[in-house]
Amino acid sequence: MAGVPIIKLGASLIVTVQEALHDRAAMELQDDITTAIEHTGARGLLIDVSVLDVVDSFMGRMLGNIGTMASLMGAVTVIAGIQPAVAVTLTELGLELRGIHTVLNVEKGLALVQKLTGNIDETTGSGGLDGTT
């Protein structure tokens, strides 16, 4: 099955989750992201979860793990588009996404990740590092 696509944009990686991920797919995503950070030396990671209307404890922990791993590899993580109802359920599950920046939408996410990686006027480079195999 196809992986979640990972796009390189300057010093950042952009990941757009396009459908609900079951546990295995979420773990594959974690692996794909850490591999991509290693290969590209990315300093920023933007994950768009705006399509997800359900984020359970496993997925929530996965997102947290991705943030921690990215941080250990020198990259900041921004998560964009957590739906309000999802934010409530994550809170009620007692999950905190520590060390991760969260923003309302992808536009804000792009601006933030570029600012955090020091690429304020970044317009170069959109390669395609595809997470599919």
């Binding site: 359900v54 922990r61 309000p84 109802a85 359920t89 599950l93």
Partner: protein, 134 residues
């Protein structure tokens, strides 16, 4: 009009997503608010994943219920797995017997209004959770 009971066999991870989608659909049809439309499938996801992790397979049943003038949704997660030795302990936050992340039962409990667990070692477990329309 009471809609028919929904039954989803849980044998693979993809089934977890099917079960929670159907739960979400029913929640929407029944008139649950936007946040409950996220709470309910999330609770279903926790219970269904528990089935896979602990028993390998099982079934999720979702149905409309009534109690007096109240209407709600009932989710039953059944399996023929090893059973839960200490239900109280299983409901403790962070407790886990598997390589999972230990939020399944307490998580589902927090997201719903009522929860009952019937379990017998060596025979299986039934977890019933209910969410009422306000």
């Amino acid at each position: 009009m009471v809609r028919p009971e929904i039954e989803v066999l849980i044998e693979r991870e993809e089934d977890v997503i099917v079960a929670r989608s159907k739960g979400r659909e029913l929640a929407k049809e029944m008139g649950f608010g936007v946040v409950d439309q996220a709470r309910i499938p999330t609770a279903i996801s926790e219970l269904a994943r528990n089935i896979l992790v602990h028993a390998g397979s099982g079934v999720i049943r979702i149905r409309e219920i009534e109690a007096g003038s109240r209407r709600g949704m009932e989710i039953a997660a059944e399996d023929h797995g090893p059973g839960i030795e200490d239900v109280e302990l299983a409901l403790t936050e962070g407790y886990t017997t598997s390589t999972g992340l230990g939020l399944g039962l307490p998580g589902a409990k927090r997201l719903t209004d009522e929860m009952e667990i019937r379990s017998k070692i060596g025979e299986g477990t039934v977890v019933v959770a209910r969410k009422w329309l306000r």
